[in-house]
Subunit: 350 residues, 2 copies
């Protein structure tokens, strides 16, 4: 299995190194061979090649079985008038590989239960699987500007096609069948034309192909509320790119530990891309204190979704639960006088 | 002072009636004259005139000193293929009256402290004033559709001009000066062209006109997180229409009582529009159990912002605090065996 590593910026290299170590342990324990190759993306790619996603990176990704990404971005490349930025690399690789579905599981860790900012009686039982559409919507709409002085105007078009809506709704509905058989679609159909198409097409898909799945729709503003006051009521949630960006980040606070949450970006075929949902954390980069668990859990998702190695994925997940049960905590998780372990120590323990 | 009442749909008429009663009490106590007139908006206007915002309503609003709105919408008018919908009335009145700034204070009520879904140590001290841009952005962008079959595509353009950004940032920055002198601007400048213009123009305004105000920028997805895990860190927050819709609704959960939150929509001049932030709650409409306090607090905002009657506004606000201290609770607020009072009883008590 050839695996492309894209460490990226900030803490990216540190956390990817630990995840690689875990994958190597899996390989030797279960008798697999993983061939790793490392490539550039993001700010470091801009610095070294002028392009946040060099062509050779894309080629390597296309040829791989799966891709493990650290994080991209940082203040160094934040100049709003810069020609290109690290995030452009991330957006382009999603598009180039057709990774239209971003899966983000939001689940509480029993060991970290008191870390949630929400009261226990509200957050207990939360277990949501988000499907965020990742290669359409306003992110990839036509953009530009016109006018001068006070009339200077910038625009970007929010766009969805029936095809784009169908395939993500189908993927989410199929996942719902494997879980509690409930799907919630989130839109802003009372205001936005693409949301009205989304709502119509989603309803058709559900009626025709998934009549057995319990299905409802919620407006994005209402969903932003529900995630705070009744998060345990949701199972699988499907939504567009921008709404998914905001809602999954909101939801990521519920477990109280951003450092624990992985994500997977999948296409119809070809390699999937796996990454922690947290960013490049430039403030702690190079200090060796980052939490590698989200990246390690992303590696587990990779084994499951791209390599069909379910037992191996579960082995990683229970190893993570195990080190937490043993009391190991990186700085972001350490509470009440517990001494924090380093990124490397945490990776080694897993 | 001529005041237009727009009760609208669902619980709208019930809550507006109570707010009117409170305004009448203010008039007689402080020796003012308020001339009320009631007009149609939303679903009821569609039913009776075919138009969610009849011309006579717009005219009456233009001639008024201020406008008090209940709520619009309901399942009756929710058909996604309907020609028009109640929300269209709301969007149009904002636009027609140039109400470009939506002010939403989010503040905990001591009396309801344990109602928050957030843990007390996180939510304590939260006191945010949102400025949501209300007449621009994707809400009012060009929209349409094209293509057929799987290629059928719908779009709507997210647009901001320098003029639109300047005036809302100025209003928010001026408000920050009257509070803790801190302003946070929220955008998605790493992806969206209109957000990049927003970020550039906001920085210019702040540098040139408000160098004394502490200013920072946060991405919308990060802000969705911060509102949950460190809401007390923010003072005044300014953002675009769609982001404001989502973030203010998210933030509205923090006090744990949607029924307590008012909002004001203001233009450069002319009448302001005041309303509760909650919706028309069709499930409890007509039962006499709705909470009128948000609408009553909206009436207080109206006295302050449109009629410059600060003492009178404070009188309403302390009356609301008083009835809460007396233990009165409508059904939405009643906890642990407290008997709920009716909408009318709550209004009368205030
Ligand atoms: C970095 C940025 C472009 C990206 C996004 O908004 O998609 C990030 O926030 C994410 O959610 O993966
Ligand atoms: C009803 C709807 C059009 C409206 C909006 O999204 O602006 C509402 O959600 C609000 O926030 O006032």
């Amino acid at each position: 299995h050839s695996i492309v590593l894209l460490p990226g910026d900030g803490i990216g290299p540190e956390i990817v190194t630990q995840a690689r170590g875990v994958l190597e342990a899996v390989a030797s324990r279960f008798g697999h061979e993983f061939a790793f190759s490392t490539h550039r993306i993001g700010g470091i790619a801009i610095d070294e090649t002028g392009d946040p996603l060099p062509a050779e990176t894309v080629e390597a990704c296309r040829a791989a079985a799966a891709i493990l990404l650290g994080a991209v971005g940082g203040p160094k490349w934040d100049d709003p008038s810069a020609k290109t930025r690290p995030e452009a690399g991330l957006l382009r690789i999603r598009k180039e590989l057709g990774l239209f579905a971003n899966l983000r599981p939001i689940k509480l860790f029993d060991e970290l239960a008191d870390a949630s900012p929400l009261r226990a009686e509200i957050v207990t039982g939360t277990d949501i699987l988000f499907f965020r559409e990742l290669t359409g919507g306003v992110y990839f709409g036509e953009s530009g500007s016109s006018g001068e002085g006070d009339d200077e105007t910038a625009y970007q078009s929010m766009t969805y096609s029936r095809r784009e809506i169908k395939r993500i709704v189908r993927m989410a509905a199929a996942a719902a069948r494997e879980r509690s058989n409930r799907l919630t679609s989130v839109d802003k159909a009372n205001v936005l034309e693409p949301s009205r198409l989304w709502r119509r097409v989603a309803a058709e898909v559900m009626q025709e192909e998934f009549p057995d799945v319990n299905y409802d729709v919620v407006l994005v503003d209402a969903m932003a509320m529900h995630l705070i006051n009744r998060p345990a009521d949701f199972d699988v949630v499907v939504t567009g790119n921008l709404f998914g960006d905001i809602l999954t980040d909101e939801a990521s606070m519920l477990p109280g530990s951003l450092g624990m949450l992985p994500s997977a970006s999948l296409g119809a075929s070809g390699p999937g891309l796996y990454e922690p949902i947290h960013g490049s954390a430039p403030d702690i980069a190079g200090k060796g204190i980052a939490n590698p668990l989200a990246t390690i859990l992303a590696a587990a998702m990779m084994l499951r979704h791209s390599l069909s190695l379910n037992t191996e994925a579960e082995a990683i997940e229970s190893a993570v639960a195990g080190v937490l049960a043993d009391g190991l905590r990186t700085a972001d998780l350490a509470r009440g006088g517990v001494a924090a372990v380093s990124c490397e120590a945490m990776g080694a323990a897993v």
